[in-house]
């Protein structure tokens, strides 16, 4: 799986007609074709493309990500610098949206037609209809410009040291991503809860005289989680994609801004490594979801039984 992705990323980047050398070398030196040819040779751009791929793959596998064509910086250094910012954003949004979605979804499903259900419906329409960056801009407009409660962007302002200090900066971008994630998740959790409530084993649980909150918590909730987890795995790429836009809106110095800068400058090594990284994160995440699913549902456990 990972190999296929790596091949796709590599060859797709080579399909582009733009010559990275042009982006790298200042125009006034571009005339010197001898220099260009030498540079090409040094960068290995003249080798057979298959050979280049395996060379690149070997480097990636050994943690040798190469250098940015644009700044000459080591890509691993760029990542080390930018990665924490994105993780901070994506993980907080992921945790927050999952917790909120499960809680609201459970209440909405358990009291169909109740307040939580109506609220979730409104939220769902808002979240699905509006793209991430628009939610971001709307939040910025209201909370940063009109009432100035929260900063407009950036991860750290001078004088901010601890995570607690930086919290105000985090609120808007995380809310943006959370709202975008939340919409579908809540609806899905609600429907899954409604589905489970109609299952026969819920009737069995009630026939034992178990109180309703226990029926919900112990029987309904757990059995509703499986489908939600699968959806979560499917939504993860969207979250990562969303974070790129949100980082741009809030000038968040993460992987998203890095990849946007790299694309503008045709900085192939960076684009390739970052794409690879995102792909790996999604792969690992779906693997984790499978593990969580097997914990929730004994039927999918490997070699279970007997």
């Amino acid at each position: 799986m990972a190999l296929t992705i790596s091949a796709l990323i590599f060859f797709a980047s080579r399909l582009s007609p733009i010559d990275p050398i042009n982006a790298m070398v200042p125009p006034d030196q571009a005339a010197d074709s001898a220099n260009l040819a030498q540079l090409r040779q040094e960068l290995g751009l003249n080798d057979n493309i298959i050979l280049q791929y395996f060379h690149w793959l070997k480097n990636i596998a050994t943690g040798e990500f190469g250098y940015s064509l644009q700044s000459g910086q080591k890509i691993s250094e760029i990542l080390a610098l930018r990665m924490p910012a994105t993780l901070e954003l994506v993980l907080s949004a992921l945790i927050l949206s999952t917790l909120l979605a499960l809680t609201i979804g459970l209440f909405a499903g358990a009291n169909k037609g109740g307040i939580a259900d109506k609220l979730s419906r409104i939220l769902a329409v808002v979240g699905i209809a509006m793209p991430d960056f628009f939610i971001g801009l709307a939040l910025l407009n209201v909370f940063a410009y009109r009432v100035s409660w929260l900063p407009t962007g950036n991860r750290v302002a001078p004088g901010q040291v601890t995570l607690w200090d930086r919290l105000p900066n985090l609120i808007l971008p995380v809310s943006t991503l959370t709202i975008a994630m939340l919409a579908v998740l809540i609806r899905y959790t609600r429907n899954s809860v409604l589905d489970t409530l109609n299952k026969d084993f819920v009737k069995t649980a009630r026939s034992k005289g178990v109180p309703e909150w226990r029926v919900l918590y112990s029987h309904v909730f757990r059995n509703s989680l499986g489908p939600v987890m699968v959806l979560l795995a499917f939504r993860l790429p969207l979250l990562v994609g969303g974070s790129i836009l949100v980082e741009a809106v809030f000038q968040w110095p993460g992987i998203g801004t890095t990849i946007i800068a790299a694309v503008t400058a045709s900085d192939y090594p960076v684009i390739m490594v970052v794409s690879m990284l995102i792909a790996m994160v999604i792969l690992i995440a779906s693997f984790l979801v499978d593990i969580v699913k097997s914990i929730l549902d004994p039927r999918v456990r490997l070699g279970g039984g007997n």
Binding site: K199, D200, F201, K203, T204, A205, R206, S207, K208, G209, V210, P211, E212, S218, H219, R222, N223, L296, D297, P298, R299, G304, G305, N306
Partner: protein, 345 residues
């Protein structure tokens, strides 16, 4: 049925009506269902799909689907000197919950969907015990393992830890029976407990239920459409058609001497191994009408070979044909017999 009160009735349904809201319509699913169930008896409720057998069971324990409700009637449950009107209790209130599981156990048909796939079976049985009795988890476990052994689940210690999907259908039904009986309820309602099982397992499960009734003196209500089962286990039979009890009596009365045209037709449609192969198996003509279609008169009139105009005019009342044997039909003569049909049906 003997409506006299000198009998010790564990459960007495008095003209129970249940209505369901389906979209904009209200369907009258149970019509004046009255059943008196003596303590320690084994009652079978029979009838075809959609006649309201399961709804009757659900109404008793107040576990009707969200769109259904008991619109009138009383359901009186007596535990010795304590008499409760179940239909007056709050659906998920403490009083109703204290009866459910502890005093009335339920066994459902589809064991795979009726057991929680994510919980170990032992825990699902113990849940009922822990809910109703002040005992520790290890005591509950010991009692469940003990019950598993009594119910013929092999290797009960190990099976306690297994999940429902690791069991066969018959074993899962034993687990269901364990759930229903672990708190030693006085009344057990089994809603088609053997329909999903193959015949040899059916017999085992029925023997198990019958033994429970005899040895523990429990009262059983068995809901089924399997007439062969009825003759094996029941002592009383109630035949239902389209939300009404049309005939009630002892097994001998109802199965050997059916009086209602519907019961007659039902009995004639039971295959018999000794029967002449050249004689075609009888079926009940026509389709069961929808509950929305019949408003006045006898519900069976549309399919009844004995029908006359008077049948469709007003609601038919139960009449006693023999002590303890009641039939809902106006065509019976003073001896409680149906007229002889010309040309034969």
């Amino acid at each position: 049925m003997s409506l006299s009160t000198d009998q010790d009735l564990i459960l007495d349904l008095k003209s129970v009506n249940v209505k369901f809201k389906v979209e904009d319509d209200t369907l009258h699913i149970l019509r004046d269902v009255s059943l008196s169930i003596p303590r320690g008896s084994f009652l079978c409720v029979v009838g075809e799909s959609g006649c309201g057998k399961s709804v009757t069971a659900q109404a008793i324990v107040q576990l009707l689907p969200d769109n259904g409700e008991i619109s009138s009637g009383d359901i009186v449950f007596s535990q010795g000197d304590k008499v409760v009107e179940l239909n007056k209790l709050e659906k998920f209130g403490k009083q109703m919950r204290d009866i459910r599981g502890a005093k009335i156990g339920m066994i459902f048909q589809d064991t795979l969907s009726s057991l929680n796939p994510a919980h170990k079976v032992g825990r699902q049985v113990a849940e009922s015990l822990l809910q109703h009795l002040p005992i520790s988890k290890s005591e509950a476990r010991a009692r469940v393992v003990d019950l598993f052994r009594k119910l013929g689940i092999p290797d009960p210690e190990r099976r306690y830890e297994a999940y429902p999907h690791e069991f066969s259908g018959g074993m899962r039904q034993r687990v269901m029976i364990a759930i229903a009986t672990v708190c030693e309820p006085d009344l057990v309602i089994a809603d088609e407990p053997t329909t999903a099982l193959d015949v040899t397992i059916q017999a085992q499960i029925m023997t198990l239920l019958k033994d429970l009734q005899k040895s523990a003196g429990k009262t059983f209500i068995l809901i089924t459409h399997n007439m062969a089962l009825v003759s094996e286990v029941a002592d009383h039979v109630a035949v239902m058609y389209l939300g009404r009890v049309v005939e009630y009596g002892t097994v001998d009365q109802v199965l050997r001497d059916p009086r209602h045209p519907y019961t007659k037709a039902l009995m004639a449609s039971v295959p018999n191994l000794d029967a002449d192969k050249n004689v075609e198996l009888q079926t009940v003509d026509g389709q069961t009408p929808s509950p929305a279609e019949v408003t006045v008169g006898c519900e069976f009139a549309g399919r009844c070979p004995y029908v006359v105009a008077a049948c469709r005019e007003k609601t038919v009342e139960m009449t006693q044909v023999n002590p303890g044997h009641d039939v809902r039909c106006i065509r019976l003569d003073s001896n409680g017999k149906l007229p002889v049909l010309n040309g034969g049906a």
